[in-house]
Amino acid sequence: MDASEREQYRAAIHGDREAFEMIIRTHSRTLFAIAYGILQNREEAEDVVQDSLVKAWKTRWRVRDPEKFPAWLCTIARHRAHDMARKRRPVPFPHETLETSETKTAHTTAIDQQLHSALAALPELHRAALTLRYFEEQDYRSIENALGLTNGALRGILGRALASLRKQLRPALASLD
């Protein structure tokens, strides 16, 4: 973390709105990735990001160390997303909406469908790590920071996530090849 970033976080903590808006610009995609990873629903994920930002603004004085500001933001988003996931009663099937809205070949759609259900079967943390990786192409370091993991743990999580997806999609993959 360089000095200017640090300064930006510090200013945001002390109530500098412009600094905070800058942080919104740079970090909201990460937050979205986390929220989406947990919720698998874009609208809900957006709401979660929004709520998290407002909450972060209101409680920014709680952060003592400016370096921990981004991690803290991610934690808020994760908790909000968890709350949201707990609140909604039956898990809606996001791929159904996708199916109706998008016109694609039957084959791709089938793989999509399978992928989504396989994703839904993964633990939330694994999904979050995956989305962070595949949405924003973030390097492991950033993901570790955002989710509060060690390098080894993250490697394990991503490896296991990929493996389990691979196993579930093996028939479809075979046909694709």
Binding site: S28, E46, Y140, R155, G156, L158, L173
Partner: protein
Amino acid sequence: MTTIHDEIDNWLAADLHGELSENERSVLHTHLVDCATCRKTHQETKTMNKILEETLAQEKPDLRFEHRMLSRFRSRIPQRSGLVKSLVDLMRLRPVQITAVAAILLALIQVGRMITGERATMLRGREGYANEEVFRQQRSQVASGVGRAGGLDKSDELAAGRSQDLALKATPSSLPASRPDFHEDAKTLSTTVAPAKMAQPEATEVLRRSASPENFARAEVAEQKPAEAPAPASANRKLIRNATVQLEIVSFDDAVQKITAFANEEHGYVATTNSEKQANGKLRGEVVVKVLPENLDRLLQKLRGLGELKNQTLGTEDVTKAYFDTDARLKNAHVMEQRLIDMLNVKTGKVADLLQVEKELGRVREEIEKMQGDLKYWDSQVQFATVTIALAEKDMEEPAAFLLKERAQLSLYAPDVEKIYNDIKALASPKVRITNAQLNRDYSGRVSATISMLIAPEESDAVIGRVKGFGRVENFQMQTQRIAQGGSGISENAKTKRDKVELNITISRDEQEQALQQTSLRIRTSSVDEKAKELRTLAEKQGGRVRSSTFNRDPDGRELAKVWLRVPMKNYFSLIQSLNSLGKVENVSVQRQNRTDAQIDEANAPADVSIQVYSQGNIISYKTGLFPTLRRTLTQSAGAIMWSLRMIGVAIAFLAPWVIAIIVIVWIAKRVIRARR
């Protein structure tokens, strides 16, 4: 030790994500070359990665995402207005917070100091201001003074030079503007001090020193000169002199004659004389002499020769100021009067106005008269000094006569209070005067009486003797007092007179008389009731009286009779002897009060005997035994349980409100938290 083969998933993922180090990658590739299974997995994972990249790319937020987030954030958290925002932002800064806390603490300390009355530092600051203020005044005086002084004498310009310079800068009546350039002056004067604020007091000092010794003093003289137009001569002062002298002389009349002679010698006169004759024939009085003030001292000298000087004061009152003030006011009033008279003479204007003028005239004249009176009074006071001489003849305190007062106190005990009360009242005659007679009967039937009488001295012994015969005398006290009349001390030739004797009598029934001797004893016998009756007859034989008796029998068959007897002392021993016939006498205790003071008739004095006649009764109570004990135990434990129940109730009554309050608060807090979410 885990091998690459075991963790191939992690290795492959990291490889695909480009997160393997150079070393790790070569290790992985070596393994892939060796292991067919892992090669297959590698292929599948690659495909999986591709699919994920493709699929999830669709789910990525659109380009307007950040913008949307920002605008929604702005709408949800509106910008605060300038002042509040800056204040709130300011309060978030740590240094500002520390400063604020420090300021609050300081303020508290200041308040505390003010309350406890210590000198606060603020006051010191204000003092500095005051100093400056004074200094400014001085400066202006110096300026004007120098202006004048410069005109008055030009020979001493060297001394006045510096302050004159100052004056030139500030003179043209521009006092408010003079402050800043005063600072400059101050700086030029004091070369040592640099910062202006620190310089203020010192600069004041410097300037004062330079200004005060010659210039300032002279300036004041110059100012005073025109003010003191009519310089008063000391001869013209109005002084009132007066003196008081206290003398003890042998003969009052001689002294007054001598004083009159002295007064004439000193061109004065005796203003007033008064005298008073005491009961012992001595004279005391006061002489007021008026004398010319200049002769006062001589007169006082002469007065000392008259007798023993007890006390002398000499006072002078200066009424010059009041006198001349009144004089000036009188002149003004005269002018005012004249103008009012003129107004009346012109006789124009309304009647009401004229009346007003008339009224005013009346008031002014009244004032004039009052002032004239004051002036005249002062004139007379000033013209003559007043000497007040208090004279007292020697042995003033000698008593004229002595009075012998006798007071007697008599307590009587008798069986019939009312009869004796009436008998004593019947003694009343011209020589025996009853001043107070009172018969009291309280709710329990006890009767007592008090009688006070005054008896002519020659009759007193006879009357007291007769009264003593009415009953048993318990207490008789006689008190004699010698009272000096018309003075104090001892006198050889004073007469002694016997006054009326005051006699206070208290009559009570002999029941109430305290027994001389109190005895208590127990008699054990088998038939209590019978023996108690026997006891009564025995007591009556010995001239005793049963005062009260009780009898009770308890459930265990124990009987107890208590009898209180009163017998005359002379029969006491035979009674005690005879008690032995009733049963076994136990626990005899005797208490006797020996009264040293009283002339008491011991043979007839009452002795109280309290006797308990008792029987042993059944050995075992029907209440002891297994079942009654069991029942009692159960009852007691039931009682204990009920009591603890009651205590629990009390505890609940204490705690319940708090518990309810806490529950309600927690409930509300939960609701609030949920509502926030």
